[in-house]
């Protein structure tokens, strides 16, 4: 089974972050994580990594509703930064809004939309798509 070298979780909900990490660790899919609690923090750190030519995450699990900078704003800013290799971005949200889902599906940079709670089978799909 493939593995994720480095996954990035951008979510303000510590329980969700805990759970996601736990699932990935238990399934032995990924060992290294980056966690940010809002879009602004994530954007700042990630763009620094890109600039410095350092290792950037293969997968980003992005929440939509967050303080300071929400998921949409992060997407807009982050996708403008040229990266050396493709970053797989998944939106993980509890929003069932058709508007949100369609908006995400219409964005090239977004791989898929996952409705919370996240479960092992979703993670497996993500790995398969890598």
């Amino acid at each position: 089974m493939k593995k994720i070298n480095l996954a990035c979780i951008i979510d303000d909900d510590p329980i969700h972050v805990f759970g996601t990490k736990k699932i990935m660790q238990l399934a032995n899919i990924c060992q290294d994580f980056m966690v940010f609690h809002n879009g602004e923090e994530a954007l700042r750190k990630l763009s620094a990594l890109v600039k410095g030519g350092e290792n950037i995450p293969e997968v980003i699990l992005l929440d939509l509703n967050m303080p300071i900078m929400d998921g949409w704003e992060f997407l807009e800013a982050f996708t403008k930064i040229p990266t050396q290799r493709k970053v797989h971005i998944y939106i993980v949200s509890s929003s069932l809004s058709v508007d949100d889902i369609n908006r995400a599906k219409n964005m090239k940079s977004v791989n898929n939309y996952i409705i919370k709670p996240i479960a092992l089978e979703y993670i497996k799909e993500i790995v398969n798509d890598l």
């Binding site: 969700h16 759970g19 238990l26 509703n65 929003s95 809004s97 919370k116 709670p117 996240i118």
Partner: protein
């Protein structure tokens, strides 16, 4: 005659002598002149000359008379004869003659006579006849009759048309004694009596519109004109015209009543009403409008409706008005804002129609202005509340969703890390509680989702196809319960719906029909559908345990209501189904009897996009 030739020549009379034995005719110059000849031109004159001048139609008549004279059957020969003038036109003469000389036996020898040119008189006569004819026709067409009351002879004359107006036969002779009785009793009779009295005393004419009596219980409106004829200050004759104006008068009376009704409505209506000119100026406004908008009549008459219409609503109003004038519509309604005198902006429901003259030219508009300011405020408040409620539900479902999601996830992880927890009683209850909570939130989400769907993109869906899909979906439970499903839905019915909703609605009713089957009977489920007034009515009938509608009717479609002690019943199904049906613009009706069964009728919109294929019906 021979002794007075110059007298004879000077006389403007044509003279002639006819000699019976030789058939010679002697005549004077005038005789020849009548037919445009000179005497020499015609000489010698015989009876043949005479005959040639005659219009053939009159020859026989004259001949017969002449023969009768010669046989002494008549004393005088008198005849009006039509002759041919030299120039071709006809001339009329009056000829008269008698035997002037006889032989010893008394046999006629000479007939002497004269001719008189009566062409002019004849022309006048014919003209007169024509005038008479025309007058009679005109009288008939104008429904105007002539009447004359002669006080000397006591003769009361009615012409044909007058008799007709009074609904009498042609041979009727009116009664002069009680001529007042020909008028309707009461005011009308008094009116004519007074009018006649005035003619007698003041020599005035009368011209009245009056109700006449034309028999028992039969009355008619006429216009009657009367003129007096006076001799030595005494009225000897009263004559005039009578005209049938029943139709016109009755229409006029009707119109007057309608006008009065309109006036009453206009003045006393609580809603605002106005007559508005084609240029938008206020022609007449009622009190209701004064009160509503705060302008007095005088202030209104200096303004146009454009002046006091909210600028954002003006274009729409003007466009509708234009369509009205162009005859593209008969009237229009709109909700619009007016600017009151005090500057306040108010909402009104405006209804406008256009009055046209008999040549279809627009005259003015009639506007009804209803104050809907309170309603509008109320409905805006409601819309706002609705939006906030929806937003609230959305936030609740979303936030609850993340929490329940986390709960589920954490419990899952705990079990994964520690299998033995499954045997822990606390933990297993916690798991159940979490599952129930997740389900509740899911249902709440469903409802929220239904309410935020827009009806714009309903799709035409083939009902039959969806029913067949639903049946195959629950085939397992159909087989296990031995349920018998009769599906008589026609293949060409299309409903306007969202696929997911239609699927869920049909599935829900079918599942319920099986779920609430009677343990005593084999389940019989009948599915049928019909199209009525742009609606598709789907009926799903079962022979199950039924619902006590008296007890639960009002709660049937409420959230979390169950009416059975069935272990699967959750109560959410019907609630969501009802929400889905209503979101599609439809409704559900239910009939049920305990221990007999239930029938659910689902009303959905018929799809306009796909018309059922109609096959040509064979001609038998």
């Amino acid at each position: 005659m021979i002794n007075y030739p110059h007298i004879i020549e000077d006389l403007d009379i044509a003279l002639w002598e006819y000699y019976v034995d030789t058939q010679q005719i002697k005549c004077n110059e005038k005789w020849a002149n009548i037919v445009g000849y000179s005497l020499t031109e015609l000489t010698p004159i015989t009876s043949k000359t005479w005959e040639n001048l005659f219009h053939p139609k009159y020859l026989g008549k004259s001949d017969n008379l002449f023969a009768a004279l010669l046989e002494d059957k008549i004393d005088h020969y008198k005849c009006e004869i039509r002759l041919k003038h030299k120039k071709g036109h006809s001339v009329w003469i009056y000829a008269q003659g008698r035997v002037s000389k006889r032989d010893d036996d008394g046999k006629p020898l000479v007939v002497t006579g004269f001719n008189r040119d009566i062409t002019e008189k004849k022309k006048d006569q014919r003209k007169l006849q024509r005038y008479k004819d025309i007058t009679e026709i005109a009288s008939k067409i104008a429904k105007t009759g002539y009447w004359e009351l002669n006080f000397k002879t006591n003769n009361f004359f009615w012409n044909e048309v007058t008799k007709k107006i009074f609904r009498q036969s042609e041979d009727y002779s009116p009664n002069s004694e009680n001529f007042l009785n020909y008028f309707a009793k009461g005011v009308h009779r008094k009116k004519i009596e007074q009018a006649v009295a005035e003619v007698f005393s003041n020599k005035k004419e009368f011209d009245l519109e009056i109700l006449i009596s034309t028999g028992e219980k039969s009355e008619k409106w006429v216009r009657i004109i009367g003129v007096g004829d006076f001799k030595k200050k005494k009225c000897i004759r009263l004559y005039g015209l009578v005209q049938d104006i029943d139709d016109i008068k009755r229409i006029r009376i009707d119109t007057a009543i309608k006008e009065e009704q309109f006036r009453q409505t206009f003045e006393h209506a609580t809603i605002g009403m106005a007559l508005v000119g084609l240029d938008g100026s206020w022609l007449k406004v009622n009190e209701g409008l004064n009160t509503f908008l705060g302008y007095s009549n005088e202030e209104f008459y200096k303004l146009t409706f454009q002046d006091i219409t909210h600028p954002d609503d003006l274009n729409k109003d003007l466009q509708l008005l234009e369509e009205l004038v162009a005859n593209k519509r008969k009237n229009y309604q709109m909700e619009k804002r007016y600017v009151k005198k005090n500057g306040q902006i108010v909402w009104a429901h405006l209804s406008v129609s256009l009055v046209r003259d008999d040549k279809d030219n627009p005259i003015h508009f009639v506007s009804q202005v209803q104050d809907i300011n309170e309603n509008k405020k109320l409905s805006e408040t409601m819309l706002d509340q609705n939006r906030r409620l929806l937003n609230f539900a959305y936030i609740v479902s979303h936030n609850l969703g993340s929490h329940t999601g986390n709960l589920t996830m954490l419990l899952d992880l705990m079990v994964t890390e520690n299998e033995s927890l499954k045997n822990d009683e606390y933990f297993s209850h916690l798991l159940t509680a979490s599952t129930n909570l997740t389900e509740t939130v899911m249902h709440l989400n469903e409802v929220v989702k239904i309410n935020i769907q827009s009806l714009d993109n309903l799709e035409p869906l083939n009902l039959q196809q969806y029913i067949l899909n639903a049946i195959s979906h629950i085939q397992a439970s159909i087989t296990s319960t031995n349920a018998n499903i009769t599906n008589t839905v026609s293949e060409d019915i299309y409903v306007a719906a969202f696929p997911a909703y239609l699927e869920s609605i049909i599935l829900n009713f079918l599942t319920n029909a099986i779920k609430y089957r009677s343990p005593e009977r084999t389940p019989q489920i009948k599915i049928s559908a019909k199209v009525k007034n742009e609606q598709v009515i789907i009926s799903i009938e079962d022979n199950g345990i039924g619902i006590d509608l008296d007890r639960y009717g009002t709660k049937l479609f409420g959230m979390y209501k169950t009416f059975h002690n069935n272990k699967d019943s959750r109560g959410i199904g019907l609630f969501i189904t009802k929400n889905q049906v209503e979101a599609l613009g439809g409704k559900i009706e239910v009939k049920s009897e305990l221990q007999k069964g239930s029938e659910f009728k689902i009303f959905l919109k018929k799809s306009k996009k796909v018309e059922p294929q109609t096959e040509p019906t064979p001609n038998n």
